[in-house]
Symmetry: C2
Subunit: 315 residues, 2 copies
């Protein structure tokens, strides 16, 4: 099987899009046309989420390379939510989309191994290796250091998958830890810079002919100056860039996350696409999918335009 | 409802035990007497896990205050694994055990909110607040700073639950990040000391009449010198101490995690209890539950003995 990065790059070029559509369903915010009379049990909410996600996928699958379901919004509904997650992943795959699961998993080695088996790896059943959630890539948190990341890196290599390690997140409190000043032998740097060095090193054996590694980094759209520094520290690592749209990141904020080759950054938005009908003057509740499609089209145009102005649009 | 800490302390005193039993089922390691001919599908593995966990719970529920299922070992089996997790939680509750879910969840505020709703909080369905996984406490990772922790703290207050924030983990690579030297205005400290200050502060509004906060800390058994420092920095935070047994932590390593009142630390072991039959000369595969019970009894005795020698055994 082709490497994760090569599959991703092929889709990016096919769709001429650097956009990833987040799928973060919250039943209180679903359009009435979808949720209807299904507000009363977790099971019925789960079925509404499946319908909602499939409608969003139908509306955007020909415009973007990938989706990013955030597993928290499925765990919120227990088993019924996880079922909706599984159905969403299956449906999106059928539509040719790459699945980046936002799960931020992290644990000690033996436990990280169990997470990796379930999410991107396989479980050995009677001598046969069986995939479980089988997403294409997953986000992971580096708080426990290398041994908690290694199982994911090994499975990325073995099963042509990818990971995105949190380096600088998009939220207001990101600086509580990630901006701490670290004293090293060669001077003072910020924690996220140390992490960038780790990611650069940890991913160095998985760089393929594209020049990119299966080990990527999460770099929030809301800290554009940090992104500039991080882009230099991690030249071979693909960036997953959340925080565009609802969290306040704009097109000028994400441009620093691209490399000079016009690649290297996946720009992700969730709420601003999922609930675009709320802000639309053109589309109402029953046209939530059309509103989502228009928002994605606008994002594609805006980002491609910015790359073109910078002279690095590459298709 | 009584606070999490008061419920926990009551159980600790009732059982005269500071031990938490981890439930980390791996189908390849389950005793043959349990797994039998159920190795061929995720569904059948899931049902074997339920039987295994129930047998372990039956064997230890009268000896300890709490269990700590590690959700990774359930996610490994997809929906069937999550079903086994839910059944295990239900069964353990019926047996009067407190449930500490080891999930190390972490995300931006709005997403942390969804996690918290599902795991320790409630989801509003048609105006009614419905619990979902409904565990008593959950472990969380502080990598994203306060806004990713706050939803869990709020739900701890609202629903009498608890959290344990990772401060110093038990794994070999813990030092990659957690031991980094931080430059502050008042001098140099290690990252885990900064985190301890955060935990102390973040939990300060949830200290009840016991003197302990619903916001606890994870402090690995494998770094006893760090535990001594951390105990002083977090006098009001209960410690969840993993790494006893299979990871190499012994009774002399965990004693520093207790306060002078003889409380303040929950000592957790998983593999050394779950798979005690492998190391037992007395009990074989078919007596895995008896082997687990004996290991837990020995752990209780060993820890209580050490507290007694130190003069802080308090019952």
């Amino acid at each position: 099987m082709e490497s994760f990065i090569n599959r991703l790059l092929a889709k990016i070029r096919l769709r001429q899009s650097h956009v990833v559509v987040g799928l973060d369903p919250v039943h209180e915010f679903l359009p009435e046309t979808i949720i209807k009379n299904r507000k009363d049990t977790l099971e019925r909410i789960g079925s509404a989420i499946i319908d909602f996600n499939q409608a969003i996928i139908d509306a955007i699958y020909d415009l973007v390379p990938a989706i990013k379901p955030q597993i928290a919004f499925y765990e919120r509904y227990g088993i019924e939510g996880i079922k909706a997650f599984v159905e969403t992943v299956k449906y999106a795959k059928k539509k040719g989309l790459i699945i980046i699961e936002d799960a931020k998993r992290n644990d000690i080695g033996s436990t990280a191994n169990a997470y990796s088996d379930g999410h991107i790896g396989k479980v050995s059943i009677k001598g046969e290796d069986v995939p479980v959630f089988d997403v294409d890539a997953i986000t992971v948190t580096p708080f426990l250091g290398l041994d908690g990341i290694l199982p994911f890196i090994k499975d990325s290599e073995k099963y042509s998958k990818g990971i995105f390690i949190l380096v600088k997140t998009s939220n207001p409190s990101a600086s509580d830890l990630q901006d701490l000043i670290i004293q090293t032998a060669s001077g003072q740097v910020k924690l996220y810079e140390i992490l960038a060095q780790f990611v650069n090193k940890w991913g160095s054996n998985l760089i393929d002919d594209s020049g990119y590694s299966a080990v990527g980094a999460v770099v929030g759209a809301t800290y554009p100056n940090d992104a500039k520094i991080l882009r230099k520290l991690m030249p071979h690592n693909y960036f997953l860039v959340p925080g565009f749209g609802a969290q306040g990141g704009g097109v000028n904020d994400i441009i620093n996350s691209f490399n000079e080759d016009g690649y290297g950054a996946l720009i992700s938005a969730s709420r601003s696409i999922n609930y675009a009908f709320n802000d639309s003057t053109k589309y109402g509740d029953s046209d939530f999918d059309k509103a989502a499609r228009e928002t994605v089209k606008n994002m594609n145009n805006e980002i491609n335009n910015a790359l073109s102005i910078k002279g690095i649009l590459n298709w």
